[in-house]
Every structure is written in structure tokens, then in C-alpha cells.
Subunit: 275 residues, 2 copies
């Protein structure tokens, strides 16, 4: 039996040991994947899972490892932007034969790697096992990594259509930087968590005001969860906000997307046509 | 005696009547300014001081009024970005003989108007009277509007040097949009309020990764106030974060700036050389 070797690194925040243990047990019980959790995942340096140097070194090490088939980001939080440009520079050829999976803060790496021509996907991460119903998210991610299970993929994706998915706030913070990818013709899926409606509105102003983003074919809205109370009541909900900025900017609104900061988060391969 | 006529409009959130009364009394006692608070300031429509249409109409009305010498933004909050592009389009000639003063969310208008060639300044707003020591902020703003009082101006500014000042988060959200101004050669002063250190770090990544911002002559840091606790402890403070991103991006760090979300906030005319 062919076992897919999956390396886990943490370019943002520290992975909880309990999450690592739980996912290791799930992977072992499946038998079709070999999960290698890099010790860097458990480092801690202020906000981050080790210094920029340590996080970049671990990521570059597994990228250059010919035996590794997939790189799975341990969790989000914040910090992958600090190493994303360097991680995507001067790529070893081994980096090009792998798939990279993550979401939330890992979106900075998805962007930089997509721009560099690597195969990336937006989907569940190791730490998601701690969510309610989290094992389903882990099985979905592993089903997709191990055998490109179509049931794991976001159901609205068209196989012939380039797609991209991002946390809205992360997307906003990478626009105009050296890691901004090419959005031309892509269906853009967005999700967010724990942002006030006024911030969602402001971020949509920024994102839909970007010349690069205006080249997408459409925007679909995933789940916007844990929205704190707006003071005063904002007067519009997240979907209306997204629809409004799509209309103002001349971008087609494509409806809902089955992604979000939750256990139901489906996989969005950026180049779904190539699978 | 020459009385400067100052029109107050609220392109973002609703002005509190108590603040309007207090500032009206201060202005009346001075005798060198005529303050006209537009009724639009007291409208309320969800988060905003009236609909986009109402806020834009009030702003455009006072911009086109030949008897008005200065336009003073009532307060920040959120929302001026929603009308900034339209406010700066097809300008009547009367708009060019005025000065525009505000900060925080009003930064979207400062940007759009600076780009359109209008004379703008970053400084106290009407609602600041409610701050501890707020009357001093109001007197400072009025001293500057009425007689370009040099004591009101941020003390590090060089008269021959173009300067710009923004709330960091507002600046981040306007980069790449149609209202991004020309930063070339300007000294850029930044301040922020109530943002976590991880957010300040992420926003500095975004701002210093912008090709436009990389054309500034230097960045100075104003006050970063009311920073919520970072979980975990971030490992670096706001000044170190700003210094770090300046160094990474090749932008000169110019030290401290006497601006912020507080009563001590000094005035930063964007084209100080012209005063």
C-alpha cells in the first residue's frame, strides 16, 4: 500500500501537544498516511512557534525533503507572513512535487507559494482536531491529501476553473506586498472569524478596491463566524456587506462557499482543474 | 477682526450633541472663528451619521460653499472610506481654497483629498472635547485653523519637508485602492489605538510591503494606545515592531511623533512647506 508522507510544520503559532497526539492517532489508524510532526511545531518564542529563523528553517527543510509528499500547516494564529517571502524564494526542485495545505494565517504562505507556482490548497489544519466535530475535519484533510478525495472538496468548485480561498483579513494584509499572487480569472472564496461588521466592511472596501482582486471572476462568501457585537448596531450583515462591495467594484457575487473557521471547512485546491 | 468660518460635517459616525455644544461654546468665547455645525452630524443610520448619500451630500455642500474657509471633521469611528472617492471627484473650485482637518477614520478623506491636490491636515476633531483634557485639543485645532499657530504643529516637522500622518490601520486599508495618495519623499507619521501587538505587526508588514509606502523618506511612530493584552505575550512592543519592519523594508525609522488618539494630538499639515 502506498503511504503518503505528510510533514507537519508550524509557520505561525505553537501546536498543542494534545492536538498532535490526537491527529497522530487518527493517521495511524488509517494506515494510508505517514505523519511526521516536526519538533519545531512545539517551539515557543513570544507569539510564535519559535523564532522566524527556526520556523523558516523547519519549513525549508521539509520543502527540500524528497521523501515528503505533502506539507500540512499545523495551525494558524499569526506569523507566517514574516517568513513567507523567504520561504518562496530560490525554491529547491523537491518543493515543486508537493502539495501544501492550510488556511487562516497560513494564507500568507498559500499566496506566496501559489505565486511561486507551487500546488496549494485551503483547508483544515492539525489544530482543528480540537474543534467540536474536529475529527471529521482531520479525516477530510487526510482523505484529500492521501487520495484527492472529491468529497473533501468545496462543492461549488468547477473542475475547469482556477479557485483561490483566503481568510478575508489575511488577504487584505497581503495585497500590494511582494507575496500578492495573480488573481486573474480565479473564483475567490473568502471567510473570516471574530471580526466586527465595521471591520468586515472596511476590509471589503480594501480588498475590492485592489486592482489585482478586481481581476477575479467572482467572489463567494464562506462563513463569517464569531462576529462580535457592533456598537451601534451596524445596519447590515456580513453577506449584505460582501454583496454591496462586489456590486460597487463590479465584481460578480457568486453566492455561498462551504469554508470557514470550523470543522465543516472544505478543501479548496487553488488549481482545481489540475486534479 | 477676520473670523474664519469653519464648517463641521461627520463623514463617519454621529457626533454627540454634548460635544457639539461644548465646542460651540469654546469657539464663541474665542471670537476669532465662526463654527457652523451641519445638521447632518446628528443623523444616525446604523453605524453611520446618516446614509452614504446624506454624508456625501453634506460634505460636498460645504466643499462647494465659497463662504467656508475650513472643513473640520466631527469625529472618526468608521465610514468615511465609503464616500471618499466620490467626495474627491469633479471638485468645484471652491473646494480648493479650503483646509481640511481630521484624523483616525477621517484619514480616508485626508488621503483622497491630498491625492486630489487639496490642503489637508491630520489633527484633533470636534468629538475630542470629550477626552480628558479635551479642551486643549480643541483650542489647538482652532488655533491652527484660525491663525496657523505654529505651537499647534507636531514639533518634529521640518517646514521644507512634505509630511503625512495616518492611523496605521486606516492607512493599511486604503493602500492599493483608488484613494491611495502619493507618498514620495514624505515623512510618514503613524499612530493607532486599541489594536493587539500581533495586529500592529501584521499591519506594519502590509504597510511597509507597499511599493507606494516604500517611497517615503522616513516613518515616525506616534502613540499606540489602549493596546489589548496579547495572548500569548507577543515578545516585542509597538516601537520595536515598527523599527523592525522599517529595517526589513529599507525605510528609515525617524523616531517618535507627537500624535495619537488623545488630547495631546498635534497637527500635521501634509504640505507643511506651504504654510
Amino acid at each position: 500500500m502506498l503511504r503518503m508522507k505528510i510533514a507537519v510544520v508550524a509557520p505561525s503559532c505553537t501546536l498543542k501537544p494534545e492536538a498532535a497526539e490526537a491527529v497522530t492517532a487518527i493517521a495511524a489508524a488509517r494506515g494510508d498516511v505517514e505523519l511526521v510532526i516536526h519538533p519545531q511545531c512545539f517551539l515557543s518564542d513570544g507569539h510564535f512557534a519559535g523564532s522566524d529563523v527556526a520556523r523558516l528553517a523547519a519549513l525549508r527543510q521539509v520543502m527540500a525533503d524528497d521523501s515528503v509528499d505533502a506539507i500540512w500547516f499545523a495551525r494558524g494564529g499569526y506569523g507566517s507572513n514574516r517568513i513567507a517571502e523567504a520561504a518562496a524564494a530560490d525554491l529547491p526542485s523537491q518543493a515543486r512535487s508537493k502539495i501544501y495545505l492550510g488556511y487562516s494565517d497560513s494564507g500568507f504562505l498559500l499566496a506566496a507559494f501559489d505565486k511561486a507556482g507551487l500546488e496549494v490548497a485551503h483547508g483544515p489544519m492539525v489544530q482543528d482536531v480540537a474543534r467540536s466535530g474536529g475529527e471529521a475535519a482531520i479525516q477530510r484533510a487526510l482523505n484529500w491529501l492521501a487520495r484527492r478525495d472529491e468529497a473533501a472538496i468545496e462543492p461549488g468548485l468547477d473542475p475547469g476553473q482556477r479557485a483561490m480561498a483566503f481568510n478575508l483579513t489575511v488577504l487584505s494584509n497581503l495585497l500590494g506586498t511582494p507575496i500578492e499572487p495573480d488573481f486573474t480569472g480565479a473564483e475567490l472564496l473568502i471567510e473570516d472569524v471574530a471580526e466586527h461588521e465595521y471591520r468586515i466592511d472596511r476590509t471589503m472596501f480594501h480588498v475590492t478596491g485592489s486592482p489585482g482582486v478586481r481581476r477575479v471572476s467572482s467572489i463567494r462568501i464562506g462563513r463569517m463566524s464569531e462576529i462580535p457585537d457592533n456598537d451601534p448596531v451596524f445596519g447590515s450583515d456580513a453577506e449584505s456587506i460582501v454583496r454591496d462591495w462586489c456590486e460597487r467594484s463590479g465584481i460578480a457575487f457568486g453566492g455561498h462557499a462551504d469554508i470557514g473557521h470550523d470543522a465543516a471547512n472544505r478543501v479548496v485546491p487553488f488549481n482545481s482543474g489540475s486534479n
